[in-house]
Amino acid sequence: MSTRIKDRLLYIIICAISFITLGILVWIMAYIITKGLPYISWEFLTTDYRGDREGILPSIVTTLYLIIISLSISTPIGIGTAIYLVEYSKPGKTIDVIRFAIVTLAGIPSIIYGLFGYMFFVIALNYGNSFLAGGMTISIMVLPTIIRTTEEALKAVPKSFREGSLALGATKLTTIIKIVLPSAIPGILAAIILSIGRIVGETAVLIFTLGTATGFPTSIMDSARTLSVHLYMLAKEGLSFEQAFATATVLLIITAFINFISSKIALNIKRFAMGSKN
């Protein structure tokens, strides 16, 4: 009898706590969106942030530029690394060191990346607060994400694909480029989208490397602020919470959209992997 009551109690506690978890998400989303949505207007999205104009267009443009710059550096390196790890590497010291490095990179908090980017790219290489410094630092930060996700995608390509291609006389490189990589494209896409999510949400790195300038960026040596940095500055200054709520809402919508796309791709990969087994 007492076991039964205890069970019942634990069961209720488990359910209650789970719904608290769900409730927290709903609370955060609802709170920010209901407060932010009324302030979002066409003008807010399409004007710059100067004088009495409070638009976020420069931040949107900056975020896009930063994504393009960082990914054009880190995607080739990440995919190349994943190809080496999956297709070429043999067990040994080299591979252990590379793996250790990737795990370490993944564990380093963003503030340390920010500090490093500041010391190395901004000061030592004299890039100043710029897209170049920010993009370089961010691309190191997202490297583990790209490597790991691409690696999983490459591993999911059935061995028979490679054997078939090699048996037909194709070289290893041809096999990788024409057979393995095309089959792994959904996974690579997932890696890129995950990285975009991280870049959009990043703040600590960018305050030190890309800076917080409010104007439109015109060159790769310019300082600018992304949406997340803009929100941080607004929240910290505490001058206009309306703008902050509106910016946070835009950020949340972008995040939800990125999440939606990546889960769709993940579903496709699953179907592909299951289909290939049969």
Binding site: D7, I17, Y31, G80, I112, Y113, L115, I140, K236
Partner: protein, 304 residues
């Protein structure tokens, strides 16, 4: 004549073959080069953080720096013990609250909820993981901090606010990894326990959680790393006074906040002291990484 031509052709073929092999070898080495970039980056990061950070530690004195309880850059006093304590309290608090909530939610998702409800929970948790940290900070600043102020006074910027925000932020890590490890407990364990007459709840707590221990531990250590390294969300809710926290509602400053907060205007020894704070943070994170590796290796060995 004819023979010569075939010989020539053969040579050409051979040459081509050798050429191809060399080319393949070159390509392999190019990929290896790509793979080495990560190693170079880690080496550079460690080198820069330590060479720029350690001089300040020697100038200030290791003991004064690590165990000094006063941080007053204008007077040339640099003690980071309040920040170390702040970071540790914040992380431990968040891990305790987060693990409790996270583990129960993982149990719910893996064992209790109907499949259609998992389909709601899973994307929700992914979304929770994707929300930028600055939004958590913003939410904490405008919702959690005023609530704490209302109940306990003192402005609300406090250790408690840090713990609440951090425990929400680490939930996705805790839940997703714990759920996976609960799901991968062999079915026989569960069936055996049920067959012996244990109830479902007893089976979960006495059989499945112990069996999924290494996965759950992994999630806790990963979450601790995230909590300790979090910066922006913490800055917005912590109050950032560099004093020893004495209660849950006293203002705190974490190691991460110390680096980020004063960097924009620091110079000279003050700036070096901030770099040195980065070194201390880095060492804490590396310790967590080593613990993580140890757990994963041990789990791997026990599977074998």
């Amino acid at each position: 004549m004819q023979l010569n031509i075939t010989k020539d052709m053969l040579n050409k073929k051979n040459l081509k073959k050798i050429g191809k092999k060399v080319f393949e070898k070159i390509v392999e080495n190019i990929f290896l080069l790509f793979a080495c970039i990560s190693v170079i980056c880690v080496a550079l990061i460690i080198f820069y953080i330590f060479t720029k950070g350690s001089p300040a530690i020697f100038k200030i004195g290791l003991g004064h720096f690590l165990f000094g309880t006063k941080w007053a850059p204008t007077q040339g006093i640099y003690g980071i013990l309040p920040m170390i304590v702040g970071s540790i309290y914040g992380t431990i608090g968040a891990v305790i609250v987060g693990t409790t909530i996270g583990l129960f939610t993982a149990i719910f998702m893996a064992e209790i909820s109907p499949p259609w409800m998992v389909k709601i929970f899973r994307p929700a948790i992914q979304l929770l993981a994707g929300i930028p940290s600055v939004i958590y900070g913003f939410f904490g600043l405008l919702v959690i901090v005023p609530i704490i102020h209302k109940f306990y006074g003192g402005g609300g910027n406090s250790l408690l606010a840090v713990i609440i925000i951090l425990s929400i932020m680490i939930l996705p890590t805790l839940i997703s990894i714990s759920e996976i490890s609960l799901r991968s407990v062999p079915k026989e364990y569960k069936e055996g326990s049920l067959a012996l007459g244990a109830t479902h709840i007893q089976t979960i707590f006495k059989v499945m959680i112990p069996a999924a221990k290494s996965g759950i531990l992994t999630s806790i250590v990963l979450a601790a790393g995230r909590a300790m390294g979090e910066t922006m969300a913490v800055i917005l809710v912590a109050g950032n006074s560099p004093i020893m926290p004495t209660s849950l509602i006293s203002r705190v400053r974490t190691l991460t906040a110390n680096v980020a907060f004063e960097m924009s205007y620091a110079s000279g020894l003050h700036r070096e002291a901030l770099f040195a704070t980065g070194v201390v943070l880095f060492i804490f994170i590396m310790i967590l990484n080593i613990v993580l590796n140890f757990i994963i290796k041990k789990a791997g060995a026990s599977v074998k």
